[in-house]
């Protein structure tokens, strides 16, 4: 009964979302505040409804109701309860519901704000959010019903049906198939929700942008309202990407974290436009320029979110990450077509209204550098997009399937990333409106000399690889320039306010959170860059089949194979094969590592878990590739030394700190005053 109830709730929510769209449009056209308010309230109601539907599904998952197809596919009796809950987003149908649930949560949060200053936006924000929501709900209702039950029809076939077909009997398997073992890793439990949070959160700025386009209120109000939204969206998306990398590093046994897989790129592309957007909105806020461009960027971001979701879920691309082929493809395609055409049409229609309010005074001004930054991000986007799409073109026109792999992306993107790093170094030193070579030069020469000194030291002590040296020079330059900025700011405050250095630093950051949070993000990116340079340029590997007592050697490390054991864990239905390896450096025992392979009986799938010893200098990463209990050949191990990769994870933690500082809500005194003066305009909607 619970399954039918859950499905019913989904249908009701879907109808409510449609009503909300209709009421909002009708209310806008007829200037009926009451109708718009009704639309707003319906939107708010979708969240509790979807929560109820989600709880029904969770209950089914936890109870192990294997009559329900989704429960059968993603859980099994032996799974712990927390995994049964997170299995919610472990399959296509459930993760679509998860998407919808997040979407309605965010849309509700956005509509709960005070609307007095932007009453005209409200109906259109509701329309955009609810059209998106209704679409995802429709996918659940029509094609991927998480509540469908298994029935055996009269001809003996077993299949899932939303409604019991005639002459059929319900089938309840004794046990489920269990969650894909790859998805049981903690990183994978948080990685998809983080990505979805990022994806969904970008719908809100997009909704406001469309509202601004429709209503013709093309000042920067929409940007100010959604500033924090886009920052949080960006945070979630970035963190989702990093967690995905960590998951790949820990579970996939590639020895790496990023493989330029089309599905990875699908999540990376909205991040690129989102990052460009974060920078270019600052120009619009500060200088009233680039209004058109910001619209382009937010529309692109939304489009890429939807397009990426489509690519991974429709079966157009095949990849390790992709969901199984599914019936949602065509309707998703239509939705993409409609949203793309509508937003671009609207943008072209309003193009002339989005003219700049100020002029550029210098090619070296901060806004000019920001534009260059945008160009570089868009270039990375072009390369990535083309790489993903080209195999389709090739197959279509020549019938030849091709792979576009890492060398393609790395060759094209490395110089672009280097240029971005260079911009990161000089942009903080440039001024809004004007800058000259002289002013820039005066600001940069000290950090530049220090960075060059660091590079020379690196040359003699660490590496002679010139690409690495360029990379390390840029990292050092950016970090030094950014620290120099902190120092300059704090010193200035120290002089004028008479504070001591550290409280000056704290006040400086507190008073201008976005700027200094942004600088912290820059530094964190550089730490990550160290990790990326390390693993990309200095990774070494060796593989060998050895007997107990023998060893593998690489980069001054010696790994001695001591023991291996194999046993079944009856409670979780997993067979473990675990080797013991001693790690020696300079003949000193450093640690013991335990690479293993886990065989999941239910899923009939192997998982290779590396043994990793991590330091800031390098990671010793060893995989148990092959071992047969019966054979006397020994065991095969693959050993990677991944220099500096730990900096990537440390950097991502600092990154989190930076974004939280930048996005932390601050009191908005402006809002209070404006609200007072405009109270006359308040309508019933603001109650």
């Amino acid at each position: 009964m619970l399954a039918e109830f859950g499905y019913g709730v989904l249908v009701v929510t879907f109808l409510l979302a449609l009503y909300s769209v209709g009421a909002a449009i009708f209310g806008y056209v007829n200037k009926s505040a009451a109708l718009v308010e009704s639309a707003r309230r319906s939107m708010l109601l979708t969240f509790p409804l979807l929560t109820v539907a989600a709880l029904s599904l969770i209950l089914l998952l936890v109870r192990g109701d294997f009559n329900v197809q989704f429960v059968y596919e993603v859980t099994s009796r032996s799974m712990p309860t927390y995994l049964k809950i997170t299995a919610w987003w472990g399959g296509q149908a459930g993760s679509l519901l998860f998407w919808s649930w997040l979407m309605s949560a965010f849309a509700s949060a956005a509509t709960l704000r005070k609307w007095d200053r932007d009453q005209e936006f409200l109906p259109w924000v509701i329309v955009v959010a609810n059209v998106t929501l209704a679409f995802f709900l429709a996918l659940n209702i029509l094609f991927e019903n998480p509540f469908a039950r298994l029935y055996q029809t009269f001809d003996g076939n077993i299949a899932a049906y939303t409604f019991a077909p005639a002459n059929s009997t319900p089938i309840t398997p004794a046990d489920g198939r269990g969650l894909n073992p790859l998805l049981r890793h903690p990183g994978m439990i948080i990685h998809p929700p983080m990505l979805y949070l990022g994806f969904v959160a970008y719908v809100i700025p997009f909704a406001f942008a469309i509202a601004a386009l429709v209503t013709g209120r093309t000042d920067d109000r929409w940007i100010r309202v959604t500033r924090r939204w886009s920052l949080w969206a960006w945070l979630f998306l970035s963190f989702g990407l990093v967690l995905g990398g960590r998951w790949a590093y820990d579970v996939l046994g590639w020895g790496g974290y990023w493989g330029w897989d089309p599905v990875e790129i699908a999540a990376f592309m909205p991040w690129l436009t989102g990052t460009a957007f974060l920078h270019s909105v600052m120009i619009q806020e500060k200088r009233g320029m680039l209004k058109q461009w910001n619209m382009v960027l937010i529309i692109l971001t939304y489009a890429l979110v939807i397009f990426g979701t489509f690519l991974t879920r429709s079966g157009v691309l095949s990849s390790v990450h992709a969901f199984a082929q599914s019936a949602i493809g065509p309707s998703f395609f239509v939705f993409i077509g409609v949203t793309f055409v509508t937003s671009i049409g609207l943008l072209i229609h309003r193009w002339a209204d989005l003219k700049a309010e100020a002029e550029m005074k210098s090619m070296l001004s901060r806004e000019a550098l920001f534009l260059l930054n945008n160009l570089l991000f868009m270039s990375v986007l072009v390369v990535s997009f083309w790489g993903v799409i080209f195999p389709l073109i090739s197959e279509l026109f020549t019938g030849q399937k091709v792979t576009v792999g890492p060398p393609f992306y790395e060759r094209a993107n490395s110089p672009l990333f280097a240029a971005l790093m260079f911009l990161m170094a000089i942009a903080p030193l440039s001024a809004w409106g004007h800058s000259t070579v002289q002013t820039l030069g005066r600001a940069i020469w000290k950090p530049a000399i220090a960075a060059a000194a660091i590079t020379v030291v690196t040359f003699f002590t660490y590496t002679q690889n010139w690409i690495a040296l360029i990379g390390f020079f840029l990292v050092a330059l950016v970090v030094l320039v950014t620290l120099y900025e902190f120092w300059r700011g704090a010193r200035a405050r120290q002089k004028t306010q008479g504070e001591n250095f550290f409280s000056a630093l704290a006040h400086l950051t507190g008073k201008n959170r976005r700027r200094y949070g942004g600088y912290i993000i820059h530094i964190s990116m550089m730490l990550m860059a160290i990790g990326i340079l390390g693993i990309e340029l200095f990774q070494t590997e060796t593989q060998g089949t050895i007997q107990v007592g023998e060893s593998l050697r690489l980069q001054g490390y010696e790994l001695v194979y001591r023991d291996i054991a194999q046993w079944d864990d009856r409670s979780t239905n997993v067979n473990y094969t675990r080797a013991v390896m001693e790690v020696y450096k300079n003949d000193q025992l450093v640690t013991k590592l335990h690479p293993r392979t886990d065989y999941y009986y239910e899923a009939q799938q192997n998982m290779t878990i590396p043994g990793v010893r991590s330091t800031m200098a390098d990671d010793v990463y060893v995989l148990l590739v092959d071992w047969e209990p019966a054979s006397a050949i020994g065991a095969t191990f693959k050993l990677y030394i991944n220099p500096l990769v730990n900096w990537l994870w440390v950097g991502s933690l600092l990154f989190l700190v930076g974004v939280i500082i930048a996005a932390w809500p601050e009191k908005d005194p402006e809002r209070a005053t404006v609200r007072a003066t405009r109270s006359a305009r308040q309508t019933s909607a603001a109650d």
Binding site: V316, Q325, F333, F340, W351, A352, I389, I393, K401
Partner: protein, 191 residues
Amino acid sequence: MTETTETPARRGVPLWAQIVIWIGLLGLLLMVGVTLNKRQQGTVQPGDAIPDFTLPLFSGYEYAGKPEVKLSDFRGKVVVINFWASWCKPCEQEAAELQEAWALYEPTGQVIFLGADYVDTEPEARVYLQKYGITFPNGPDMGTRISQLFRIQGVPETYFVDKTGVLRYVQVGPFSSLGQIQAQIELLLAE
């Protein structure tokens, strides 16, 4: 914020740019749409005419001494094309039955079996063929061209082409019995 200047002319998007944008967008959508359509189609369907293809044959598995065969060589015969691979577990379930069926129909001269070895290595493929005592013509699907022609979704898959070169039946997954194979062939032979 301070230096606001009025630009006199309202400049929209120039026509040529609009045209470029719309063509680009439609082109992209069209391409993705066609690909999606292709993916959704699944394998080629009964009733479709199969374009001619050439299958090179492993030595020892030639047809009438020829190192390669064309589909069009077999007009007037019923052609059974089986896609398999030595790494494919389900293929092993049907290997013996296929060979039995071949032994049954080879003397009639009205039926030809072709084994297309999908993404496989020759040494392993030979071990597999020997293990199941397979004697009908077999060869590698060079460059996965033939499997792309049939849009196979996996291995094993078996395609029955009638005497006029039209696809009549598709078996996705292994056969469960010799009778299943016979039934399809008899149907086509009776025409």
